[in-house]
Amino acid sequence: MAIDLVSRRALLKSLGMGAVAGSVFRVIPLEAAAYAHSVIDAEKADAGGYMPKFFDAHAYKTLQALCETIFPADADSGGAVEAGAPEFIDLVTSENVGFQEKLGGGLKGLDANCTSKYGKVYLECAAGQQKEILDLIAYRKNAEVDAGLAQSVEFFSLLRNLTADGFFTSKIGIKYLGYKGNTFVPEFPGCPPVPGLEA
């Protein structure tokens, strides 16, 4: 874990400092801080199944399907559902009236469009039909051609942003990006050499 990056010497020194400081400052040594961090990880592990706070069962299933389509699993990582994006979106939507109107209304609108076009709700549509409808609402330029699409495009844009939030703030999303920080290092190493950039 992260603490490995601090040399044993630095750690001992830091614990020594902590003892000196103990008389006055309310500091905790680095080792203890790292320990506290791992405890939080363990507590989080038994989270269990999620009960949606805002969306009903059908809407939540649709939300999950859309999230996974926006950021699917691929060779490099899992997708938005594994990342917990639907849970995050449900929680913030339950607290945000603007999101409730846009996302709640948007999901109903999506089903209504699918029903009028294909005779069934989004989840029951064939893969090709789902792609056809998403390709319409995933681009602003389509709303410029057909103003009737404006609300759906707005809905999908917000959902896409929130799915990105949920995916890229998850454990798998952070790993996918290659973020290497949130750790303890005794000295900041600066910028690594980049071949071709120094020219």
């Binding site: 905790i28 939080i40 703030t169 973020y179 949130n182 900041f188 690594p192």
Partner: protein, 573 residues
């Protein structure tokens, strides 16, 4: 028979507020031998419980964002109790004015999550009026304050480098950290553009100091630091004061009024104990007000008596006047060459390693005074809202969008200008005649209007940002839908200048001066009208230079406290 409370405790000094100024005063006064009682409007701080240091976004229900997924109150990661709005404790704005007031109700106040930027004011900043005729000169010079900057820096620890930049004095510095990739890139462009770009000056330890560990480079200073490797009053000023045995801290104590005796001297502070909702009173031989500039003005205005019908120490009418904030303007750029950067730990300290001090000092410019530039970005911890830009630019969905988010991650750098505002008659705070808070205390009403100089300065910032972005091979990016550029007005052009108060450098409302008709305090931050009343936050500042105020709050509070100690020893207060 008269009831005499023979056990009434009279402290030497009552300090109101435990932030940068109050904490400094508590340390200096208790170490000098005085018995001090401190009133703090919020709870005690427990870093172990309160700080979110080293947590990942997925360990918090909102992934680090605020309730509702928005950035209100800076989100879940921020060190505790910092708010744009506080339930039950409102403030108002006059018609046509917009102003935002960030308050922190907790031991240590805003120093728990401040930006740690620790810049000295320069010699010219203390005599700006003599230079360009605007505003007023301070009643003290840089040379008078310099020894106190030395003391503060040597005690709290500030990193930086000796640079001899005009009017940006060097201090007593710990070594600066190495620059990040983003900073190396921008520094090169600045060199070509003749813009000074130097190591920043931050109150973060790059070496162990005075019993505190060195920084471990997690970039999370704003969350509060459990190892106290950065400066906060709660972790660095209050503990040594408490260790003297002469500090009595009363938490959850909202000061209502400073009470004067028949001779017009301050003798007590009445406050509300928020826990029991009861009225209390604490007696002291001297009072140091350090509640933050506007809160201190509010307290004085609310302390009305026969002797002081317009508020305590306010015979000049200057309390609440001369309110300023920093001029703020921001712009971000996308730098495609950063896509080649290998994954690496980019965190560093919680804030910039380099910055641009005002580099056109003494030159003929389109506006008076100056600004500095802060910048940051790159491979930071991913956060809510961080991918709006690329999602809205790229659109669509699926693996290609996911890959685009990855390739563009870490390629954005944001620039923020922070400039000097000149005080004007339209910017002030006063008591709202109609609105009281939940404790029955009249609230502040803010009046605000940027002057022409500030608008010109903000426009210059935008032009500079653009030249730096383009000079470094980047392209300027627009705001996103979730964080759109605000709708503009003539006075507040869209996206070009911050709202009043938004930079959280509000100050000047109980100012010092040598003229008793236009100032409240003398050169020792002692009230002209009440000799045992002092102010020790940013309210005494006569000007608001482009240097963040906290270091100067502490230097001035240290100087004020030494004067108060001296006066106490002579029996003068």
């Amino acid at each position: 028979m008269f009831q005499v409370n023979s056990r009434k405790t009279v402290y030497d000094v009552c300090i109101i507020g435990s932030g940068a100024g109050g904490g400094t005063a508590a340390k200096v006064l208790t170490e000098g031998g005085l018995n001090v009682v401190m009133l703090e409007a919020g709870p005690r701080l427990d870093p172990d419980r309160d700080f979110k240091e080293h947590m990942w976004p997925y360990q918090l229900p909102h992934r680090g964002a605020g309730i509702g997924g928005l950035g209100s109150n800076f989100g879940e990661f921020l060190a505790p109790n910092g708010f744009w709005e506080i339930d039950g404790e409102p403030y108002t704005t006059a018609p046509g004015s917009s102003f935002r007031w960030f308050r922190s109700r907790i031991e240590g106040g805003r120093t728990n999550h401040w930006g740690r930027i620790a810049l000295r004011f320069g010699p010219a900043d203390f005599r700006a009026h003599s230079t360009d005729g605007m505003g007023d000169d301070w009643p003290i010079t840089y040379e008078e304050l310099a020894p106190y900057y030395d003391k503060v820096e040597a005690y709290i620890g500030v990193f930086g480098s000796k640079e001899n930049v005009p009017n940006a004095p060097d201090g007593i510095f710990l070594p600066p950290p190495k620059p990040r990739c983003t900073e190396t890139l921008i520094k090169k462009a600045c060199d070509r553009l003749n813009i000074t770009c130097i190591p920043s000056r931050m109150a973060i330890l790059t070496k162990p100091l005075n019993g505190r560990d060195a920084c471990h480079y997690c970039a999370q200073c704003g969350r509060g630091c459990k190892s106290a490797s950065n400066f906060s009053s709660s972790q660095v000023m209050i503990p040594p004061a408490a260790a003297t045995g002469r500090l009595t801290m009363i938490a959850n104590a909202m000061a209502r009024e400073i009470v004067v005796d028949g001779s017009g001297k301050a003798e007590a502070v009445s406050y509300i104990d928020k826990t029991t909702k009861s009225e209390q009173r604490v007696y002291a031989k001297a009072v140091v007000v350090a509640a933050s500039a506007c809160e201190s003005a509010r307290l004085l205005l609310n302390s009305r008596s026969a002797n002081f019908p317009n508020g305590l120490g306010n015979s000049s009418g200057a309390v609440g006047r001369n309110l300023t904030d920093s001029v703020g303007s921001d712009l971000a750029g996308y730098f495609p060459q950063l896509e080649k950067m290998p994954a690496h730990n980019h965190d560093g300290v919680g804030g910039m390693h380099m910055y641009m001090p005002w580099w056109r000092f003494g030159k003929q410019n389109e506006f008076l005074r100056g600004y500095h530039i802060e910048f940051g970005g790159g491979r930071d911890m991913p956060g809510v809202g961080g991918f709006d830009g690329v999602c809205e630019e790229q659109e669509g969905y699926g693996v290609s969008l996911k890959q685009k988010c990855r390739s563009s991650y870490g390629t954005f750098i944001g620039f923020s200008g922070r400039g000097e505002m000149i005080p004007n008659d339209k910017c002030f705070c006063e008591l709202d005649p109609d609105v009281k808070d939940q404790w029955g205390i009249p609230v502040l009403r803010f009046h605000w209007s940027w002057g022409e100089n500030e608008i010109k300065m903000a426009a210059d910032m935008q032009a500079t940002f653009r030249s730096v972005v383009e000079g470094a091979g980047g392209t300027v990016i627009a705001g996103t839908r979730r964080h759109p550029k605000p709708q503009g007005t003539a006075e507040q052009p869209a996206g070009k200048i911050s709202k009043g108060g938004e930079i959280i450098h509000e100050l000047g409302t109980v100012r010092m001066g040598s003229d008793t008709k236009t100032s409240v305090l003398n050169a020792h931050c002692q009230a002209h009208d009440v000799k045992n009343l002092f102010v020790a936050d940013a309210a005494p500042f006569v000007s608001n230079p482009d240097k963040n105020p906290t270091l100067t709050i502490m230097a001035l509070a240290w100087r004020t406290s030494e004067y108060l100690l001296e006066q106490a020893k002579k029996g003068e207060v």
